[in-house]
């Protein structure tokens, strides 16, 4: 696998590169991949969540830096993408811009070409997807277009790599200075004198027609832009005043909005050029393949069917099949753990060296994350296919009505599916996928609600609790869990949109419906790998750091001297017992010193850990062979069964000792957790969680599950350990400890809490990355915790007060939430047009609380 070093470079650091510019869906990224090959850097632009890609391009012996700018339709300042592209082009002008035009939508694209040329940027036009135009029965004359524009025009088909050589030749030609570009710009008639006048007042680095026009059009970002380019406040105010008075004069004289006038002039010019170089042929308009497909896929009655089928396929392939795949990858990870367990300093009878316990703890935490990699690879590949094919936009089209009602967006569908609407997803890719949502407010609302979905890691605790308390109502409770989460998520989204997120910038829903494309294997694989790698890197490092912190919190300050002495004494008793049992055994001399004994015990544990991974008798046999070879002295005593009477006796005694040792260690761990900082926190929280029925043990499990949800079950396993040697499963132990009548109610409260529980650490980090705000990350943790506790308390206390059993309480709760949802969803809608019209352009993308 190749490495993608993440740069934190600001746009300004890549001076003199080559920029790829174009509208969304014009095939820009495909072209970028074709030009740069495998080495790319993906990062975010500072301060915004817009993806920034760059990579080297080789032209002969020249090595150039190619930057893939985010797709935009124009260079006003209304969306984060536009602001990023603008400031990149103005503040650190690239040597050259390649404008990728969708040949099938030439007229619309040309308007952006004009703006680039007006900025004074040397431009090469890549007429991409020219094959589509031909298929429509049209002919396009690139030479004529080049002549009319005054810049080189190259026909390309990015997906098939056509036209790349010519494009490279043109780039070399321009860089060598061999060809002069004399761009022909649109003329603005009556506005021309005003443009000239403003241009004279502009600072040198911004002395271009585009800037003059933007100021005349009253650009909201004009002031900071001018200041950045070294204009003093006084001349700047004078400049803005001049622009304002000229704008007013023009608008009065012509009775027309100046910005409209500019757009109309550009469009007219674009129409002019298009009609001169595009021959639409004589035959009537052919119905395109895309339109024919949409007649079926977007049919009023069939659309939901196709949508459900798509979602099912994604769910089944990624989650179900991906999970199957982890059965093959998990032994690999477990094998690595076993190797590390051999390699790290050996375990003691009661106490392990710190390097061992911490090392294994870290490895377990990382393995938990890596275990999901196969699922992510499949999931990301499928998403890439949806995106590249164009169906994603259709999903948004179908579902926008419902989701918009609750403050979300049509394009929130995918993040919610990834998060696990049904059961079994992961919030990390879910939050990552919100990137595609163009509306900042809906995007944030989606980011904050995706963690409510049922991720894979929540399932073990559900299964545990259902296994103890709801065996007879398994289906019902799973239905409850799956539906309650999406209902709560929608309500929360609605609530947040109406309160905290209200002042945030929103973008109107005007979405292009792209043509359907056949995704390429290469493109899909590359995106899947890139995103998975990003996940591993971002999440892996942070999880390691936090695993250390949790380890410390769970282990400090440790046991008191008396407790320590007590455990040592019990250990000694067990050892004495063992020595008694083997006193007369002929092999007894092999187990005299503590070192010998530990060798046997550690061998036994290592053997058991590996044996668990072996499925077939043949595999077990070969494992036995390897162990036999490695330790011919002790292995016969470790292998269950076999050997003569004396060997079997030692084997039995060893097993008893091992069991006692494990029990002691578990009790020690419980005492240690009880004493630990996290244990104290769990106990301190008891008054708060009392209403929900959670005792300190559950609190500790919930606290530690913040690092990774799976650990909730593991921690509960330690805390609800059996009193005596009897090996009772965790289900029964918890059942007895929690009592069966109130226990079910507590279990229901725990399920409700866990469903709404804050995102795990990895997700919280992803929220931080995607919102670029620590404030929102903290909010994403605190708010669900409070809400979850409130709901869990309500469920538990109401159930107790009205003497309801858990199932009735659950149904009541479900009906209540559904009623709320219907109330919000069906309430007659007030027209919110006024609010939308005043949405501030150029506002901050970041609305931290």
């Amino acid at each position: 696998m190749h490495t993608i070093p993440l740069t934190t470079a600001r746009p300004g650091d890549i001076r003199g590169g080559i920029a790829l510019i174009g509208q969304p869906n014009c095939g820009k990224s495909t072209l970028f991949n074709a030009l740069t090959g495998l080495r790319q850097h993906v990062a975010n632009y500072p301060g915004v969540t817009v993806e920034k890609k760059q990579g080297p391009m080789h032209l002969g012996d020249r090595r150039l830096n190619l930057v893939d700018l985010p797709g935009t339709y124009s260079l006003t300042a209304f969306s984060p993408e536009e602001r990023v592209v603008r400031s990149f082009l103005l503040d650190s002008p690239p040597t050259l811009g390649i404008h990728v035009l969708d040949a099938a939508q030439l007229q619309r694209g040309l308007s952006l070409t004009f703006q680039l040329l007006e900025m004074g940027l040397p431009v090469i036009c890549a007429l991409n997807m020219s094959d589509v135009v031909r298929r429509q029965g049209h002919t396009l004359d690139p030479e004529r277009l080049a002549e009319l524009l005054g810049v080189p025009v190259v026909e390309t088909v990015g997906r098939r790599g056509q036209g790349l050589d010519q494009l490279k030749r043109e780039i070399s030609g321009l860089l060598d200075g061999g060809r002069r570009v004399a761009a022909r710009l649109p003329r603005y008639g009556a506005l021309e004198p005003h443009i000239q006048a403003i241009m004279e007042m502009l600072p040198d680095s911004l002395k271009n027609r585009w800037m003059a026009l933007r100021l005349l059009e009253n650009d909201p970002e004009g002031k900071p832009l001018l200041l950045r380019h070294g204009l003093a406040p006084e001349p700047m105010e004078a400049l803005l005043a001049e622009a304002r008075s000229r704008r007013d004069r023009f608008q009065k004289d012509h009775d027309q909005d100046l910005a409209d006038y500019v757009i109309t002039m550009r469009d007219r010019h674009a129409h002019d050029l298009t009609s001169q170089c595009l021959n639409t042929g004589t035959g009537g308009q052919r119905v395109s393949w895309t339109e024919r497909a949409d007649r079926i896929l977007l049919n009023r009655w069939l659309a939901p069917v196709f949508l459900l089928a798509t979602i099912y396929v994604i769910y089944h392939t990624a989650i179900v099949q991906g999970y199957e795949l982890t059965h093959y990858t998990w032994p690999l990870l477990a094998g690595i753990r076993n190797l590390a367990a051999d390699w790290l300093p050996a375990a003691g009878f009661l106490h392990d060296p710190l390097s061992r316990s911490l090392g294994l703890w870290l490895l377990d935490s990382v393995n938990t994350l890596l275990n999901y990699v196969p699922i992510f690879l499949i999931l990301f590949a499928l998403i890439a296919m949806l995106e590249d094919s164009g169906y994603m936009a259709r999903i948004a089209f179908i579902l926008d009505r419902v989701l918009h009602r609750f403050g979300l967006h049509g394009q929130s569908t995918l993040p919610l599916i990834l998060g696990g609407v049904f059961a079994g997803g992961c919030a990390v890719p879910g939050v990552m996928a919100t990137r595609a949502i163009p509306d900042p407010r809906a995007r944030l609302a989606t980011i904050l609600t995706v963690p409510y979905m049922n991720c894979l890691a929540k399932i073990p605790l559900y299964t545990l609790l259902i296994g103890i308390f709801f065996v007879d109502h398994k289906g019902l409770i799973m239905f409850f869990i799956a539906t309650i989460t999406i209902m709560v998520a929608l309500l929360v989204a609605w609530l947040l949109t109406r309160t905290l997120l209200r002042p945030m910038e929103t973008v109107p829903f005007v979405m292009e419906m792209p043509r359907y494309h056949l995704p390429t294997v290469r493109g899909v694989m590359r995106r899947a790998l890139d995103r998975t790698w990003l996940y591993i890197k971002k999440v892996g490092t942070i999880v390691l750091a936090v695993a250390v912190v949790i380890f410390v919190l769970l282990n400090l300050p440790g046991l008191s001297t008396e407790e320590q002495a007590q455990f040592e004494q019990r250990a000694q008793t067990a050892l004495n017992q063992f020595h008694d049992q083997i006193r007369d055994n002929p092999h007894g001399h092999l187990f005299q010193t503590p070192e010998q004994l530990m060798q046997a015990l550690n061998l036994s544990n290592a053997y058991r850990a590996r044996r668990m991974n072996m499925g077939t008798p043949e595999a077990v046999q070969s494992l036995d062979g390897r162990f036999e070879q490695a330790d011919p002295v002790y292995f016969p005593f470790v292998r269950p069964g076999g050997g003569d009477r004396d060997v079997r006796a030692i084997n039995r005694a060893l097993r008893t000792l091992d069991q006692e040792r494990r029990l002691l260690r578990m009790e020690m761990q419980e005492t240690r957790i009880h004493n630990s900082l996290l244990g104290r926190a769990g106990r301190a929280l008891e008054p708060l969680t009392q209403a929900a029925g959670f005792d300190w043990k559950i609190n500790v499990a919930l606290l530690s599950s913040f690092a990774a949800r799976e650990s909730a079950v593991a921690t509960l396993g330690v805390l609800f350990q059996q009193e005596e040697g009897a090996s009772q499963p965790l289900e029964e132990r918890m059942g007895t400890a929690m009592g069966s009548t109130d226990g079910a109610l507590v279990a229901l409260a725990l399920i409700v809490f866990f469903a709404i529980y804050p995102p795990c650490l990895a997700t919280a980090i992803m929220v931080r990355v995607q919102t670029d705000s620590t404030g929102w990350m903290l909010f994403s943790i605190v708010f669900p915790a409070a809400l979850g506790l409130l709901m869990a308390s309500a469920v538990h206390s109401l159930g107790q007060a009205f003497m309801l059993d858990a199932i009735h309480m659950m149904i009541g709760f479900w009906v209540l939430i559904l009623a709320l949802l219907l109330m919000v969803g069906l309430w007659p809608r007030r027209m919110v047009r006024s609010g939308l019209a005043t949405a501030s352009p150029g506002g901050h993308t970041d609305g931290s609380p």
């Binding site: 099938a104 409209d260 895309t290 419902v402 918009h404 005007v510 419906m513 019209a837």
Partner: protein, 89 residues
């Protein structure tokens, strides 16, 4: 809709009907976005279909192969005249 009342907003147009954009009644980012997507005054557009739940709408631009989805909320800001009502040019 009859030609007695030729001016209406895009959200009132029926699927299949073609019309010409007269003016945009929005300002700021909505207006800019509409213009960017090619919804300029003077353009001919056709309402292709409604989403299964009646919102958003899908519109075809200039009888070409360019399709745009738009919520009723935003379509309200586009004043159009039905093609049948436009005097032939």
């Amino acid at each position: 809709m009859s030609c007695a009342e030729p001016d209406q907003t895009l959200d009132q147009v029926q699927p299949g009907q073609s019309c010409r954009i007269l003016r945009l009644t929005a300002s700021g980012s909505i207006r800019q976005r509409l213009l960017d997507m090619g919804l300029l005054p003077g353009r001919r557009i056709q309402l292709v279909r409604l989403a299964p739940l009646g919102d958003p709408l899908e519109v075809r631009l200039d009888a070409g192969n360019s399709f745009v989805a738009i919520r009723r909320q935003e379509a309200f800001h586009i004043t159009v005249t039905l093609e049948a009502c436009t005097p032939s040019r």
